[in-house]
C-alpha cells in the first residue's frame, strides 16, 4: 500500500512539475530613449533573462551607431565629415559608410527628392521654437544642397563633402538603418521573432508565440481625439515599415503648416502629402523612401515606389489615400476611412 501511495505521489509530482516547469516563449518589450527618439525592442524568448540580454545588446548597437551619426554631437563621425567639408576626406566606420551609401542610392533613385546634404537648410529651422528662416537665407544655402557633391572613397573608407559649408543630415534614413543593425544583432543572438521600432521606423521578423503576424498601427496624420489614433493596421512579418508625416515636428503660422520634411530643391517644407508609409524588406529603404515619396508627392511618389519595388500608403494633402496593389491583404483601413 505504502509503495503504491509513493508511486502515485511521484506521478502527481511529475505532472505538476512538467505542467509548470517549462516556460513557453513569451513576448518581452523594452523602451529606451536613444538617437534623440524613443526606441522599443520586442522579442519572443523563452525567459525574461534571455530577452533582456538580447534587447540590451541590441540597444547598445543602436546607441553606438547613433553616436557615430549624431548631427549635434561634436564627437560624431558625422560632425567630423561636416567640419571638414571642402577641406579633407574623413575616414569613417563601416556603419556610417553603409548608411551614407544607401542615402546616396535613394537620392539618385528619387532624382534628389531625398537628399542627405539638406543639413545647411534644416539647421536653420526650429520647429519647437517656431523659428522660420528668412527667405534670403534659405535661398543662399540652397546651392550647398546636392548629394552629387558627396565623394566616397571605398578603398580608404572616406567621405568628403566637396564644398565648404555643406552638411550631411542623416535624420531621414538613420533610424531605419539603426533598426536593420539592431535586428541583425538580435538574429545573431538566436532570437527568432521580434520588432525593432526606432520611433516610427519599424522592422518586424518571425511570428508571435501564437503563430500570428505582427500587428503594426499606422497613425492618422490628422488625429481627431486621443493620441495614437490609427488610420490603418498592417499585419506583416519579415518586413520594414516607416512613415514620414507632416505632423511630427511642425508649427502653424498664418494658417500655413511648416514641418520638418524639407524639399531639397526649395529648402521649404514639402506640401503635397500629409503622410507616407512605405513597406519594404529593409528598414533603411522604408525610412529613406518614405521621405523621398513624401517630397515627390502622390503622383511622382507612386512611380518611385513602383520603380523601387516597395509598397506604400500615401495620404495626400487633401486626405486622399493612394496605395500600391502589394498592400492588399496586408493593410486594413479603420472603419471611419
Amino acid at each position: 500500500m505504502k509503495t503504491r501511495i509513493q508511486a502515485l505521489l511521484y506521478v502527481l509530482f511529475l505532472i505538476l512539475f512538467f505542467s509548470c516547469g517549462k516556460a513557453k516563449p513569451s513576448i518581452y518589450k523594452k523602451t529606451k530613449p536613444l538617437m534623440d527618439t524613443v526606441v522599443s525592442i520586442t522579442v519572443v524568448a523563452g525567459s525574461a533573462e534571455e530577452a533582456d540580454k538580447a534587447i540590451e545588446k541590441a540597444f547598445s548597437v543602436i546607441r553606438q551607431f547613433g553616436d557615430r551619426i549624431n548631427f549635434f554631437s561634436d564627437k560624431s563621425e558625422l560632425s567630423a565629415i561636416n567640419k571638414n567639408a571642402g577641406i579633407t576626406p574623413v575616414r569613417v566606420s563601416a556603419e556610417t559608410m553603409g548608411v551614407i551609401e544607401r542615402a546616396i542610392f535613394i537620392s539618385e533613385k528619387s532624382g534628389g527628392a531625398f537628399d542627405p546634404t539638406i543639413g545647411p537648410e534644416i539647421r536653420m529651422w526650429d520647429f519647437y521654437k517656431k523659428i522660420r528662416p528668412e527667405d534670403a537665407a534659405i535661398k543662399k544655402n540652397l546651392p550647398l544642397v546636392n548629394f552629387r557633391d558627396i565623394i566616397i572613397d571605398h578603398d580608404k573608407s572616406t567621405v568628403f563633402l566637396k564644398r565648404k559649408g555643406m552638411m550631411l543630415d542623416l535624420g531621414g534614413i538613420a533610424k531605419g538603418y539603426a533598426a536593420d543593425l539592431a535586428l541583425a544583432g538580435l538574429r545573431q543572438d538566436k532570437i527568432a521573432a521580434g520588432i525593432v521600432a526606432a520611433a516610427g521606423d519599424i522592422r518586424a521578423f518571425g511570428l508571435k508565440p501564437d503563430g500570428t503576424l505582427w500587428n503594426i498601427g499606422i497613425k492618422n496624420p490628422r488625429q481627431k481625439s486621443e493620441a495614437d489614433e490609427l488610420i490603418a493596421k498592417a499585419r506583416l512579418t519579415n518586413k520594414a515599415i516607416s512613415t514620414s508625416g507632416d505632423y511630427e515636428r511642425y508649427f502653424i503660422e498664418n494658417g500655413r503648416r511648416f514641418h520638418h520634411i524639407l524639399d531639397p530643391k526649395t529648402g521649404y517644407p514639402a506640401g503635397q502629402c500629409r503622410s507616407v508609409t512605405v513597406i519594404s524588406d529593409s528598414g533603411v529603404f522604408a525610412d529613406g523612401f518614405s521621405t523621398a515619396v513624401f517630397v515627390s508627392g502622390p503622383e511622382k511618389g507612386m512611380e518611385l515606389v513602383r520603380e523601387a519595388g516597395v509598397d506604400a500608403v500615401i495620404i495626400d494633402k487633401d486626405g486622399g489615400i493612394h496605395t500600391t496593389p502589394g498592400i492588399k491583404g496586408m493593410v486594413t483601413f479603420e472603419d471611419s476611412h
Binding site: P33, F59, W214, G217, K219, L230, S242, T277
Partner: protein
Amino acid sequence: MKTVIRNTTVADKLLFLFMITASLAGIFISRAAMPQGGEVVVEINGKKAYAFALDEDRIFAVPGPCGDTVIEIKNKKARVKEAHCPNRLCEKQGWISKGVIVCLPNRIVVSVGGRSANSSKEVDAITG
C-alpha cells in the same frame, strides 16, 4: 461525515488534492494571461522605476537632469503635470489613458495601459 472520510481511498484523497491544486493553478494562470487593470509605469533611462495602479489618484515627482518631473494620476488617466525640460512637450501632451508620454531631456518614459494581452486587436507597434 466520518463515514465519508473513512470510505475515501488514498486515490480519492489524491484526486481531491489534485483538483484543488489544478483549480488554484487555474486562477494564477488566468491572472497572468488576462490584462490587468490599468497600470502606470515610469521608466528612467530605460529602467523601470515606478509602477502604480491607474485607478488610484496620486501625484509624484521623478528626478531627472532638468529637475523634477511631476506626474499625476487621476480618474484613470495620467499626465506630466510639470516639467522643466526645454520644450516641455511631455507636459503639452496632456492626459492619456493608454500609450506613452516621453520626456527625452529627462530620459523619462511614462506608459499607461494594462499588461499586454497579446490580443490580435492590439497593435504591437505604431508607425507615424
